[in-house]
Amino acid sequence: MADLRPILLVEDNPRDLELTLAALAKCQLANDIVVARDGAEALDYLYARNGFAGRDPGNPAVVLLDLKLPKVDGLQVLETVKQDPMQKHIPVVMLTSSREERDVLRSYEVGVNAFVVKPVDFNAFFEAIQDLGMFWAVLNEPPPRGANGL
């Protein structure tokens, strides 16, 4: 626990970003939160390149990944991560406003660890984020078989 790895939050919508950060702050997690505003930036962080060229080495504890993102969308980021032997163990939690079946299905096909539809109810959202934070960032265990969201 001494060397807590950061949480990578990938979110383009500034309000969602602010609210998610607020929720995470409420969890009082010790992990650093790294924010990427689109898929390309997320990949830059994961591969320590461009703007993140000099970052501390190591993978994040968890990636909270919005589905709809500018430039490179969430599914593509997920695909890249899950197809890379060096990265595929990083837990990825997909956050999305969408209940579209195909997004869920596609995410599971690609190997997402959890899938969260952002609830309108802030308290529910807060709980979801809190659970996520605790589960992935603190325990940081590999996902149980068949974990399908919270």
């Binding site: 969602d16 607020a22 209940r99």
Partner: protein
């Protein structure tokens, strides 16, 4: 009595064709004795072949191998070496005037010498004014028989034959005598029919190529041509175009049986097809000079031209009339609801198109008919027969029973049939019918006995006495114009059908596109519309957390903001579910409805924690459907029951079900506020509410969603209620075929 058809044990037509095929009519190996034939090599003028009477008639040295240069003289030599195709010239040899006729073949140039008959006074000069007169007199004669009468009169005047007939052939090559001129020596054949077997196909083809034949004496002995084979190609001499060509012994026998010793026939060619014959007969041998023959040939051509123009005129007039009908009908069809109804509504036009007494259309086994037609089953039988046996787009017959023996039973309405196929794949047809027309045909002799066979050879029939036959199961034949009209109409119909199919395809495409758009739309609704509500709720909550010292009013405002945004979020979610339902795939299985109701009761338990609710739940039969969707439907119904019974103590919610044949039925009843049956139609509509939102919360989509779920399962749902006396919702689900009853 029937016509000679394949019904008779031995087809007489086939028999004669066969016999005649054995008759080498183009290469008989000899000539008739009233002239001399020479075959010359065009350059050297060497005699390649000669009839064996050449030396005796034209001079001792005229034999194969000799030169013909001296015999012919410079004038004829000039023609032989020229490029001119044919020759007709007179030549005097040893005091005898000959008419020399020449034509060219691959086997050499053929010259035929005929001594000018002593009685023949006519020259082309004297014949010319007659022909001019004929040409003038036929103009404007619009009756075929009158026209033919003029021609036979003229030919008899030129030739002096005892009897001159004009035959016309029908489509089966039976000939009918349509005009006759005679001096009474030979019997009259006017109006009689002669079977196709009298002039076999091989002879008809020769008649088409070489329009005139003369047999001055049917009792002649043929004169051989020597050598028998052409030195140029080693084959027997082809005399297709030689006037002296010796004819088939069968034909000579036929002439003798007919009581005629001399004959001449001239082909009437209309648009290069053998339309008929001018046929001349004489009781005794008779010769006709080449000039007179030429004149007759010319007279016949005048007749043929006039017939051609009459037929074209009549055809064109009929086509124009029918085209107008067709155009009118197609225009009306294009506005019709369907092809079938359009045709039926314009029955007169439809039948007129082919001059029919009845018409029918058969598509996908369904028959619509107008006028006099066979029964539906009979029409279907005709269609099946055509579909299996007739590859053509348009089938035409005036004797349906000949193709389809079973059609005899309804020959009175459908002896004549024109059928246009309007589908490549299916037995779909538009048909026109004509009734049987019983008529009497007078044959020149019994056509059923055209030939008698002996061990060695066939003999033509011997009797030409009039022989009457009743023709049955025949309709008035369809004219060329009528058939073409049907063909045109078929094309229009096929286009019409294709157009409809295209329109349908286009519609489907548009539907798919709009479905995709809808999908994209609901995606963005789901994704983008929810976000602002989430933000509103999120910020309001953050604000409430931050400002612990808010007064009650401010707290109330904040709560209202959050509640409103949450309600809007629910609305978006419900709308999305509703739109997704239309295209969601149903994963149907056997669903334990008891279990489902238990689960739903548990999930809605939070909605009535502080209420007194009595549940009356029966054993429910299992349903067949998508468990998740059925859960959604049940949740809505049970939530509603709880919601609208809120004021009751106790609230009684009854859930029951029963298996019926073919379906299972479920019922959710409450003792709540109920509703006025006057508004029952509005109950299942989207956003239709029967209560004020402050009385009963909700998005107004729940029941619409429920109905959609049930609809997607192929089931039904109904609501019954009375204001203040509760409501009952009942829905039925179709049973799966494997699902046992009960």
């Amino acid at each position: 009595m029937t016509e000679p058809t394949t019904d008779t044990p031995i087809d007489p037509v086939a028999l004669d064709l066969d016999a005649c095929a054995r008759e080498p009519i183009r290469i008989p190996g000899g000539i008739q004795p009233h002239g001399v034939l020479l075959v010359l090599a065009p350059e050297s003028l060497e005699i390649l072949q000669a009839s064996t009477n050449a030396a005796s008639q034209l001079g001792a040295g005229i034999l194969a191998g000799a030169s013909a240069a001296d015999l012919l003289g410079p004038g004829l030599v000039g023609w032989v070496r020229s490029g001119e195709a044919t020759l007709l010239r007179s030549l005097t040899l040893g005091g005898v005037e000959y008419q020399v006729v020449g034509h060219r073949t691959d086997q050499g140039t053929i010259l035929e010498f005929e001594p000018t008959p002593p009685e023949a006074g006519e020259t082309l000069d004297t014949l010319y004014p007659r022909l001019q007169l004929l040409a003038d007199s036929v103009v404007g004669v619009e009756n075929l028989h009158a026209l033919a009468a003029l021609a036979v009169e003229e030919v008899r005047a030129i030739t002096g034959f005892n009897r001159v007939l004009c035959y016309s052939f029908d489509k089966d090559w039976h000939g009918t005598v349509i005009a006759e001129s005679g001096d009474g020596v030979l019997p009259s054949y006017l109006g009689l029919r002669f079977p196709a077997s009298d002039i076999p196909a091989q002879a008809r083809e020769l008649y088409r190529l070489n329009p005139l034949r003369l047999i001055p004496d049917a009792a002649y002995q043929p004169v051989p041509v020597a050598p028998a084979e052409s030195p140029l190609d080693g084959r027997p001499l082809d005399m297709s175009f030689a006037g002296l060509r010796s004819v088939s012994p069968v034909h000579l026998e036929y002439m003798r049986n007919m009581g005629t010793l001399a004959s001449m026939s001239i082909s009437i060619l209309v648009e290069d097809q053998l339309w008929g014959l001018i046929s001349c007969h004489h009781a005794t041998p008779r010769r006709v000079s080449p000039q007179a023959r030429s004149a007759c040939n010319f007279a016949t051509k005048i007749l043929a031209l006039q017939i051609g123009s009459l037929e074209r005129g009549a055809h064109a007039a009929a086509r124009i009339r029918l085209k107008q009908r067709e155009t009118e009908l197609v225009a009306r069809l294009s506005r019709a609801k369907s092809l079938q109804s359009g045709l039926a509504e314009h029955a007169g036009l439809w039948m007129d198109l082919a001059g029919a007494d009845g018409a029918a259309i058969l598509v996908d086994g369904a028959v619509r008919q107008v006028g006099n037609t066979p029964t539906d089953d009979q029409i279907r039988m005709i269609a099946e027969h055509l579909h299996e046996n007739v590859p053509q787009d348009v089938f035409v017959t005036d004797e349906l029973s000949r193709n389809l023996p079973a059609a005899r039973t309804f020959g009175d309405v459908a002896s004549g049939l024109v059928a246009a196929s309007i589908s490549q794949l299916h037995a779909s047809y538009v048909m026109w019918f004509r009734p049987e027309v019983v008529r009497t045909v007078s044959w020149g002799g019994d056509p059923n006995k055209p030939a008698t066979g002996t061990a060695e050879r066939l003999h033509p029939r011997t009797s030409f006495d009039q022989w009457k036959e009743q023709v049955r199961l025949r309709a008035e034949p369809w004219s060329r114009a009528e058939v073409e009209s049907v063909e045109d109409f078929r094309n229009a119909l096929v286009n019409f059908v294709l157009l409809r199919a295209e329109e349908r395809a286009q519609l489907t495409e548009e539907l798919e596109r709009s479905n995709k758009e809808l999908e994209a739309f609901s995606y963005s609704v789901s994704h983008d519309l929810r976000a602002p509500f989430r933000h509103i709720v999120g910020y309001a909550e953050l604000l409430r957390d931050r400002e612990s010292a808010l007064d009650d009013k401010s707290r109330h405002y904040l709560t209202s903001i959050v509640d409103s945004a949450l309600a809007a979020g629910d609305l978006v979610d419900d709308l999305l579910s509703f739109s997704q339902l239309g295209r969601a795939h149903l994963a149907k299985t056997r669903v334990d409805m008891n279990k489902l109701v238990e689960e739903v009761r548990r999930s809605v338990a939070g909605e009535h924690v502080d209420r007194n609710v009595t549940w009356e739940v029966d054993r429910l039969p299992p349903g067949w459907g998508d468990a998740a969707l059925l859960r959604q439907a049940l949740t809505n119904l049970i939530s509603n029951a709880l919601k609208y019974s809120r004021g009751r103590d106790p609230a009684i919610i009854t859930i029951s079900g029963e298996a019926r044949p073919g379906s299972t039925v479920y019922r959710v009843r409450d003792n709540g506020v109920g509703f006025d049956m006057a508004y029952v139609d509005k109950l299942f509509g989207v956003f239709q509410r029967l209560h004020r939102v402050e009385d009963f919360e909700g998005t107004g989509i729940g029941l619409a969603l429920t109905k959609r779920v049930i609809d997607r399962h192929g089931g039904w749902i109904k609501a019954e209620g009375k204001l203040d006396h509760g409501a009952t919702f009942t829905f039925g689900l179709p049973k799966h075929e494997e699902q046992a009853d009960g």
